[in-house]
Symmetry: C2
Subunit: 322 residues, 2 copies
């Protein structure tokens, strides 16, 4: 994995992925006690950064593989990203989703023309189901983060951060990235290593699912005790990826770990001051930027909002805190 | 008023106003039965397009006038736009707001350093209060829409629509614009007349406050029977402006009038599919695009979301419809 692969992905995404803006609001700067810039990937196609990786992976397939189709397992955002990218490339898509994924994500994936296969997150292994179906039908498996083209696609978000910040005269910053398996975190870290070496990436995770923060401290991949049940459904992965961890471990600063109350408050503040919809898993980095400033060093923090696919009932819980 | 004035405003806004993206979602296209593009000015600084006009007006002042300060009357969005622009120019700002404006808008305006003067919308005239204070303190009055620099500033949104649509190969479209006094509508119409003459602007208004739609039909400025009390607080103006009406009347197609239920549903759909926060007055154009297709002609509709400054309780009403 290197910057050339991210640049190649950026070339293939041109005119297809949205270039999301860098947002800010004086009220957020005051809360954080430093300048806060937000990269709202909730505004990306399908409502999350996952469209980048999905498009990068599908667009890299041979015409033959594309015609046979793709398969992906996902709590919902990768599902929709792959489904939309596949549809645009006329590739059939099968998506394996946990049965407890938010209804909006399951519906969203079906609406994009994909065949959805549900599984029980507590009992079954999505990896096994994925490999079996992939063998049976000749589908290409697009893993959610341990896949070079996917990491490269997510890295295009980092290229944009570097360019947009530079245009504002910013070359030094803590960059907080919502982290599940680490695809977005690794991709952004690689992009910034090449384009904005004065910035340092910190993965942001929810309490109870802080496998990457603990793994970075331990210097080896550690697992979470639990695999399901948290508020932040988008980033509940069992452990750091085999491809992503060597990258995050080489390039990232310490992880930031936030609790559910901070996540809901960050969602409420994004509603009020940025006018964007963040899902819980997409708000962990902003929560870290706003409420964990003592763990950061610089006077500027850049936080991703990685997605906005949240059911109304959960969003209403956040609104009650405004 | 002509395109040169809008171009001059665009030059002064460069690097200060955000260039908001053009968003879309397959689900919205399906509902509308045509291609729907959304210009989310809720993502503009201060949460509405009003920052454009505020900046255009303040940046056009002489150094002497700027030092004395500015005054504005506004239901909230113009207030915040002018307040933030004034602060950036070191100009004192006095803002006259109706006492029934959303709490978030009054607080937002104060947080931007402005002095807020409240008045009773049903009894007092904000124009009279504005002129008196302006005389007493030597402040320059920045009217919310009947002011050439303000119209020029709002018109920069139209320049962006023309450029962004052209890059997608779109030169023909119905352009629905949320319309109160008509500043945004007139500005966009002027910009598109010069840059995208194949597009036709339609003002969008809520039922009971459809003064522009009726005035366009009658060929003269008509007033609303009521002046307050509607859901769409941002666009409750008594009648079309003296400067804006001649422009909209020359350039616009028939107005589109939507009801409160359609407005709330449009807010819910923007939440669900675009991940942006629309306030009621900011959602009327999207409501028109989605639910009044029979009044439009082309296969592409572009709708502004003019602002996102909505209190949580009102937003929760919309969420209940998702």
């Amino acid at each position: 994995m290197d910057i050339a692969r991210i640049e190649a992905a950026a070339e293939r995404l041109k005119g297809h992925a949205r270039r999301t803006p860098l947002l800010s609001a004086p009220a957020l700067d005051e809360i954080a006690g430093r300048r806060v810039l937000v990269k709202p990937e909730c505004l990306q196609h399908t409502g999350s950064f996952k469209f980048r990786g999905g498009w990068a992976a599908v667009s890299a397939l041979s015409p033959e593989a594309c015609a046979k189709g793709v398969i992906a397992y996902s709590s919902g955002n990768h599902a929709q990203g792959v489904a939309m990218a596949a549809r645009a490339h006329n590739a059939p898509a099968v998506i394996i989703m946990p049965s407890d994924a938010p209804a909006s994500k399951i519906e969203g994936t079906r609406a994009l023309g994909a065949e959805v296969v549900l599984y029980d997150r507590g009992v079954e292994s999505r990896e096994e189901i994925g490999e079996r179906l992939s063998d049976e039908r000749g589908l290409t498996l697009i893993k959610p983060y341990d896949e070079p083209e996917v990491i490269a696609g997510q890295g295009t978000c980092g290229l944009e951060i570097a360019e947009q910040a530079a245009r504002m005269g910013i070359t030094q910053a803590d960059v907080l990235v919502c982290c599940g398996g680490g695809g977005l975190t690794a991709g952004i870290a690689l992009a910034l290593e090449a384009r904005a070496p004065g910035m340092r990436v910190h993965p942001a995770e929810p309490e109870g699912f802080d496998d990457t923060a603990r793994s970075l401290r331990a210097g080896k991949q550690l697992s979470n005790a639990q695999e399901a049940g948290g508020l932040c459904d988008a980033i509940l992965t069992p452990r750091p990826g085999d491809l992503t961890f060597p990258i995050t471990s080489r390039l990232c600063g310490p992880g930031v770990v936030v609790n559910d109350d901070e996540v809901l408050r960050a969602m409420a503040l994004a509603f009020r001051h940025l006018k964007v919809v963040a899902e819980p898993g997409g708000a962990v980095a902003l929560a870290g930027a706003l409420f964990h400033g003592s763990e950061l060093e610089g006077d500027t923090v850049i936080a991703t909002i990685s997605g906005g696919n949240v059911d109304a009932a959960v969003f209403a819980r956040a609104l009650a805190l405004v």
